[in-house]
Every structure is written in structure tokens, then in C-alpha cells.
């Protein structure tokens, strides 16, 4: 239930009504006041004041002053007349309700219209601003263009001038040359000695300014040519300078290298060197050199070369136990297994080697090639020709120019076709 504020006081003049409403301690803001043409309401919960006015007022121009614990309304009448009372006295409930609703609706409409109008003006303003800026920018651009044009024309004119002078100079010089060639040599030489100093100086002087003085140049050039021929040194004694180029770990220039991958590969190799999977108890009775995977690898290679495949496998096994990250060990062991016809083991070892030979870089091309070929051979000997062919093709991709691999790949293809036809 709202608390009605009834203690208002008012007075009027012909054109305005002054209404004072004490607020009894409540604070009011503009939002609490609702006013339309014939209806006035102040609602500060729980307080409420409303008045259905005697006659319509001009609500846009009317003001409300909030302060000092009360609100002071200045309402401008639509029609200047003296009111009998502030509110319509005999208003029954329905009429009041009706009026209230109307008032609200009207207020809403007005609000809507106002926003519309504001929007439109805003848009127009924006458009105007835009056009103004565009005009300014156009003007600026034009100004710059004009400047450039002027420069261009000025420069073109200068160029033409210079060029014409050049042409004249050339013509003059050629005439001069012809004239002087007709003269005899001796007077030329005499004059050379006298005039040399004189004509040299004006020539150098004029080189500082824009153009050459044609006459001086004409005669001087012939003289200077003679002089120059006398003064030119003999051709240099032939010699060769040997050059070396900056070495790189990978012999490719920055633009060609795939640095990231190469770094990875180098890193991996370095790591691999450092690993020692040691099983100390078993290895205690081995000699120092037998604990070195590289030495063991060399031993294995030697035994392989001599045909002692089992011995080579043993050497590689021990090396792997010491350091299982060196791809070459697996690679060589695969070769041994191939010779020993341990085909499955050969495949295993080649695969392990290939695994360790990632990322694929030019440095480990050779090793990868061998791994593919060995695995391919093992597959073929197991009659798994398709897998074998796959490996051979991978090998071909690494080294397309290898004839042997190409021939072998062909043979396998034909074998496959042969078996397919017969089955």
C-alpha cells in the first residue's frame, strides 16, 4: 500500500502553475517523476503522489526542481486560463484509470518518437561528417598530386634541356674531331704540349658544373686519348688465386637447408654417442677396448669382410648392449643376418636401424638406402614380394640413379605379376 503524499501546495499565474511537494525525507531523482499532458505522478516507494490535472499542460517545457526535501514543479499551461483547482475534482475511478492509461501511452509514444528523431539526426550528422572528411582528404590528395605533377614537369623540362645540350655537344665534338683529324700530326703534337695544361683545366672545371664546355672537351679528348694510350700499364701478369668456401656441417646454403631437421639429427647422434647402457656386472671381465661400441663395430665389420658372420653378429650384439642408439650397428647386423639367412632377424634389425635414422636428412641418406635395400632383400627371400617392392621403391626414391636397385625392383615387379597371373 503506497503512502500518499497529500501535503502539496500550489499557486498559479495565467500561464503557469507552481506546485510544491514536500517529500518527507525521501530522496527523489528524475526517474521517479512521470508527467504527461494531463497527468502527474511522483513515485518514490513507498510514497506516491498523483494528480490528474485540471487542464492540459505543456509537459516538454515544464520543469521539476528537486532539492531541499521537496520537488518544485513549474508547469506551463497549454491554454492560459486560471484553474479552479489543481486536479480534476469529480473524477470517478474509471475516468481516472482511463486518463492514467492514456497518459502512459502518450508518454511512451512520445519517447519513441523522440528516439526516432534522435536516430535520424545522428545519422544525418554522421553522413555530413563523413562527407566533410572525404572532401578534406580529396583536397589534400589533389594538392599532393599537383605538387608531384609540378615536380615532374619541372624535371622533364630540365631533362630536355640537358639532353639537347648533350646532343649539341656531341655534334660539335664530332665536327671538331673531323676538322682536327685533317690537320697534320706535328702541329698537333706541338699544340698538345702547350694546350695540354690549358685545356685540361677548363675540362676539369666544367666537369664540376652541369655540362662540359664543348670546345675544350672536343680538343682535349683527342689529346687525352693519345696521352692515355701512352700511360696505360701493360696487361697484368696472369695469376690464379685459390678460393675455399665457408664449410658447413651440411654443405647447403641457408636457403636450401632444412636446419631444424638437421639440428635434430646432429643432436640425436651426439646423444647416441654418449649413452652407455652398462651392465657392469657382466662387463667387468671385458677389456677396456671391448667396452667401446665403435671398436666393436669395427671388429664386426672386419669379421664380416672375412666371412665370419657369426662372429660379426656377436660383436654387434655386444656393441648394442653397450649402446643401443647407434643405427649403424643394427644396419650392419642386418647384413650379417641376411648372409646367415636369418631373414626375420634381418628385417627386425633393418627396421630398428631405419627407426633410429629419423629425421631423414642428406647426411644419413646412405645409411637409409642400405637399410631399405637389406630389408627389401629379406622380404623377397621370404617371398613377401609386395613388402620387398615397397622397400626397393623407398630406396629408389632416395637414390633415383642407382641402376642395380632399379633392375632389382623391376625383377620383383615381374615376379609379382607372374604369381598373380598363375594364382
Amino acid at each position: 500500500m503506497p503512502v500518499w503524499l497529500r501535503e502539496h501546495s500550489w499557486r498559479q499565474s495565467l500561464s503557469a502553475v507552481y506546485l510544491s511537494l514536500p517529500l518527507r525525507g525521501a530522496r527523489a531523482t528524475a526517474a521517479n517523476i512521470f508527467c504527461s499532458e494531463q497527468y502527474l505522478k511522483v513515485s518514490i516507494p513507498p510514497f506516491l503522489f498523483e494528480a490528474v490535472l485540471y487542464a492540459p499542460i505543456d509537459d516538454t517545457n515544464s520543469t521539476a526542481k528537486i532539492g531541499n526535501g521537496d520537488i518544485f514543479f513549474t508547469l506551463y499551461k497549454k491554454e492560459p486560463a486560471m484553474w479552479d483547482s489543481l486536479t480534476l475534482a469529480n473524477a470517478d475511478k474509471e475516468k481516472l484509470q482511463h486518463l492514467r492509461e492514456n497518459a502512459v501511452l502518450k508518454a511512451q509514444e512520445k519517447a519513441k518518437e523522440e528516439t526516432e528523431a534522435k536516430k535520424i539526426t545522428k545519422q544525418e550528422n554522421k553522413k555530413y561528417a563523413l562527407e566533410a572528411t572525404m572532401k578534406l582528404e580529396e583536397a589534400e590528395r589533389k594538392r599532393i598530386e599537383d605538387l608531384k605533377e609540378k615536380e615532374r614537369q619541372k624535371v622533364t623540362k630540365e631533362l630536355e634541356l640537358w639532353k639537347n645540350q648533350q646532343k649539341d655537344g656531341d655534334k660539335y665534338k664530332s665536327i671538331q674531331a673531323k676538322e682536327e683529324l685533317h690537320e697534320e700530326k706535328e702541329p698537333l703534337k706541338e699544340r698538345k704540349n702547350e694546350k695540354m695544361n690549358k685545356t685540361r683545366v677548363p675540362n676539369e672545371g666544367s666537369s664540376k658544373t652541369r655540362l662540359r664546355s664543348t670546345r675544350g672537351r672536343g680538343s682535349c679528348s683527342i689529346f687525352s686519348q693519345d696521352l692515355k694510350e701512352e700511360q696505360l700499364p701493360a696487361p697484368r701478369a696472369a695469376a690464379t688465386i685459390e678460393v675455399t668456401f665457408t664449410p658447413r656441417v651440411f654443405p647447403t646454403a641457408l636457403r636450401e637447408s632444412r636446419v631444424a631437421e638437421e639440428e635434430e639429427w646432429l643432436h640425436k647422434q651426439a646423444e647416441a654417442r654418449r649413452i652407455i647402457n652398462s651392465d657392469l656386472s657382466e662387463l667387468e671381465d671385458l677389456k677396456e677396448e671391448e667396452k667401446n661400441p665403435d671398436w666393436l663395430k669395427d671388429k664386426g665389420n672386419k669379421m664380416f669382410a672375412m666371412g665370419d658372420y657369426l662372429g660379426a653378429v656377436n660383436a654387434y650384439n655386444l656393441a648394442v648392449r653397450l649402446n643401443n642408439k647407434l643405427p649403424l650397428l643394427y644396419l650392419n647386423r642386418a647384413a650379417c643376418h641376411l648372409k646367415l639367412r636369418n631373414l626375420h632377424k634381418a628385417i627386425e634389425d633393418s627396421s630398428k636401424a631405419l627407426e633410429l635414422l629419423t629425421p631423414p636428412v642428406p647426411d644419413n641418406e646412405n645409411a637409409r638406402l642400405k637399410a631399405h635395400v637389406r630389408r627389401g632383400t629379406a622380404f623377397c627371400q621370404l617371398e613377401l614380394y609386395t613388402e620387398g617392392l615397397q622397400d626397393y621403391e623407398a630406396a629408389l626414391k632416395i637414390d633415383p640413379k642407382n641402376k642395380i636397385i632399379e633392375e632389382d625392383a623391376e625383377k620383383i615387379r615381374q615376379l609379382i605379376q607372374g604369381t598373380m597371373q598363375s594364382s
Binding site: T156, L159, W162, L232, P233, A238, T240, V243, F245, R255
Partner: protein, 360 residues
């Protein structure tokens, strides 16, 4: 990097643009004239030399010469002002010197290299510098050879990879330090980033360094003075300016480098009238005009007491994008300050004028 005020900056004005029917690899001004030379390769695989003259706002073709092999580079550097013979290197490794009045038979010809001659430079001609006129060529076969037009068939100096050494393409060569009759130096840039400085007087390697990316172009600021500055441009938009006055025994020459354009910097050319201004041309079709400022002291002593150079600083005066294709060749006119020609891979040659260079 200091900035020059807006309206006072040099402007690059495009004066003439000419579409060509062949790929232009090199363009050069004919000295003492308003004529220019374009060298390149026609679609049918033959070489083209075209001579143009500047007429107002157009380029007029004066002469067109066709040769059996495409031509990669050319120079007027080793001829006298009267003769104005053009020395060219072609795709087959031949070095030829042509008299443009009678271009059917070359004045000098030698099959200098086994592969394409990438770059050529000449010194001793045009009234610049002293000493014998010489031509240097750098080729994909990794060798750099110096030729004297008076000596047939054999080079007077040959810089080749040592026996058994793998070769790297030589992409650019330049002469320098030719301030008297004996002194001369050749600088060569290779595709693996090596820059080597050969002293022709002592026939030895004077200095080498590696700037990691392939070197597209090297140029001394002047050929005919005691070597002062060397600019080397490379792939990936970087270029280095070396101060060549002070050589430290281990550290070599001091340098400042700048990464300007996102793509390869194809060429660098110093303004003939002011040796501290140079223009670089890039793979994105843009030209940048730079000015080098010297440091307060060009050399200082290091901890052991040996002299060490101090590099200065660079400021960008102007940049402009002319094309979408790389601008592969650039040449300033030695006669008119600010006039330059550039040739791009979009088969156009453009004549540009750079203004306000007097105010720098």
C-alpha cells in the same frame, strides 16, 4: 634512423615506362648521353640488346641487336668515353665486347666460363680512375676472372675453387680501390653468403666473411678511390654496409646491417654524384633510397690496441613500390643527378627521376 621532413624528402618520380617484348636482365645508361641500353633474353631463347633514347616522355628505340645466346649482364666500365664499347656476359659463359655502331662482330670475344656469367664489372674506362681497363666476370661455375681487352683468351687473374673443393655459384662481382695504377681490388659475392675480397696487386685473398644468406649484389661506393664503403645485399631482405677504411686483423671490417624489405634485395647502386646515397631494389618491386651517416669516429682501438673500424648508421630517405615483380637491375645516370633507370621482371623498363637530392 633519422627521418627527413615530409615535403623535403626526395621524391621518386616515374618519368617513362616502356613495355618490352623480352625479359630484361640488365639496363645501363650509355655514358655522356641520354641513351640507355637494355639487355636480356627473348622468348625464343636468343639474346637482345636494345638501345633507347629519351625523347620527352617517351623512349625511342634507336637500335635492336639480336645475338644467339641470352645476355645476362653488361657494363660500360672498361671503355673509353669515345669508344663506348659495351662488354656483355651471356648465358653460355661468353664474354663479348661490342662496338654498338658495328655490332655484327664483337671487338673482343672469349668463352670465359663454363656456365652462365652472372655478373660483370669494368674499371679503368670512362675517364674514371687510373690504370689499365679491366673487366671482371663472376659465374655460376664458381670462378671469378679478370680480363684485359688487350689480351686474348686468357684472363689476367682467376679466382677459382681449390682442387677438390665443391663450388658455389658466384652471384656478383665489383671492382674497387682503383685509386692508382697498381692498386685494384675485386669483391665477389657467392650464393652461400660468402663475400671475398681479392687484392689484384698482391694476387691474394685480402678478406672474407660470410653473411649467411646468398649475396645478390655488392658495390663499392666509388671504384676509383681508396676503398671507403662496400654494400652487400642478400636474400631475405638484408643488406650490410661495411666500412672499408680500417681492417682489423681478426674481425675484418666493421659493418652495419639493415633488414628492409621482406624479399630478396636484388641490386644496390650508389649515386655517382654522392657516395653516401644509394638505392636498393627489392623482390617485391620496391625501391628504397638510403643515406649512410658516418659515426663520430671512424675507427677506434680495441683491447689489444689494434685499430678497429666503427660502422655508422643508415636512414631511409624514401621508398616506393613500382611493380609487383622483382626489380632486377638499376642504374644511375652519371651525367644527370637523380636520373635512373630500372628494369623489372614484368618486362618493363622504367626511367625515374629522384628529386631534391641536392638538399641531402
Amino acid at each position: 634512423m633519422s627521418a627527413v621532413l615530409g615535403p623535403e624528402r626526395p621524391q621518386v618520380v616515374s618519368h617513362v615506362q616502356q613495355a618490352l617484348s623480352y625479359t630484361v636482365f640488365d639496363c645501363k645508361w650509355v655514358p655522356r648521353s641520354a641513351r640507355l641500353m637494355c639487355l636480356g633474353s627473348a622468348a625464343r631463347g636468343t639474346g637482345v640488346i636494345q638501345l633507347y633514347e629519351l625523347h620527352g616522355a617517351r623512349l625511342e628505340v634507336l637500335r635492336e641487336i639480336e645475338k644467339p645466346k641470352p645476355i645476362k649482364c653488361g657494363t660500360f666500365g672498361a671503355t673509353s668515353l669515345q669508344q663506348r664499347y659495351l662488354a656483355t656476359g651471356d648465358f653460355d659463359g661468353n664474354l663479348n665486347i661490342w662496338n654498338l655502331e658495328a655490332p655484327e662482330i664483337p671487338v673482343y670475344s672469349v668463352k670465359g666460363h663454363k656456365e652462365i656469367i652472372n655478373s660483370i664489372d669494368g674499371v679503368g674506362g670512362l675517364g674514371i680512375g687510373e690504370g689499365a681497363p679491366e673487366i671482371v666476370t663472376g659465374s655460376r661455375d664458381g670462378t671469378v676472372k679478370v680480363w684485359d681487352p688487350r689480351q686474348n683468351d686468357t684472363p689476367v687473374a682467376n679466382m677459382e675453387p681449390a682442387q677438390g673443393e665443391s663450388k658455389r655459384d658466384c652471384w656478383t662481382v665489383a671492382f674497387g680501390n682503383a685509386y692508382n695504377q697498381e692498386e685494384r681490388v675485386v669483391c665477389a659475392g657467392y650464393d652461400n653468403g660468402d663475400i671475398k675480397l681479392f687484392d689484384l696487386k698482391t694476387m691474394s685473398l685480402r678478406w672474407e666473411t660470410n653473411i649467411k644468406n646468398g649475396v645478390c649484389s655488392v658495390e663499392f661506393d666509388r671504384k676509383d678511390i681508396n676503398m671507403n664503403k662496400l654494400v652487400a645485399t642478400s636474400l631475405e631482405g638484408k643488406f650490410h654496409v661495411f666500412d672499408m677504411r680500417t681492417q682489423h686483423p681478426t674481425k675484418g671490417f666493421a659493418s652495419v646491417s639493415e633488414k628492409a624489405q621482406k624479399s630478396t634485395i636484388w641490386q644496390v647502386r650508389h649515386l655517382p654524384q654522392n657516395r653516401d646515397i644509394f638505392m636498393t631494389s627489392g623482390g617485391s618491386g620496391s625501391l628504397h633510397l638510403w643515406k649512410y651517416e658516418y659515426p663520430a669516429q671512424r675507427s677506434k682501438k680495441d683491447s689489444e690496441g689494434s685499430e678497429m673500424g666503427v660502422a655508422g648508421s643508415l636512414s631511409l630517405l624514401q621508398n616506393v613500390t613500382l611493380s609487383t615483380q622483382p626489380i632486377s637491375s638499376l642504374d644511375w645516370s652519371p651525367d644527370k643527378k637523380g636520373l635512373c633507370v630500372c628494369g623489372a621482371f614484368d618486362q618493363t623498363v622504367r626511367v625515374l627521376i629522384v628529386t631534391k637530392l641536392n638538399k641531402i
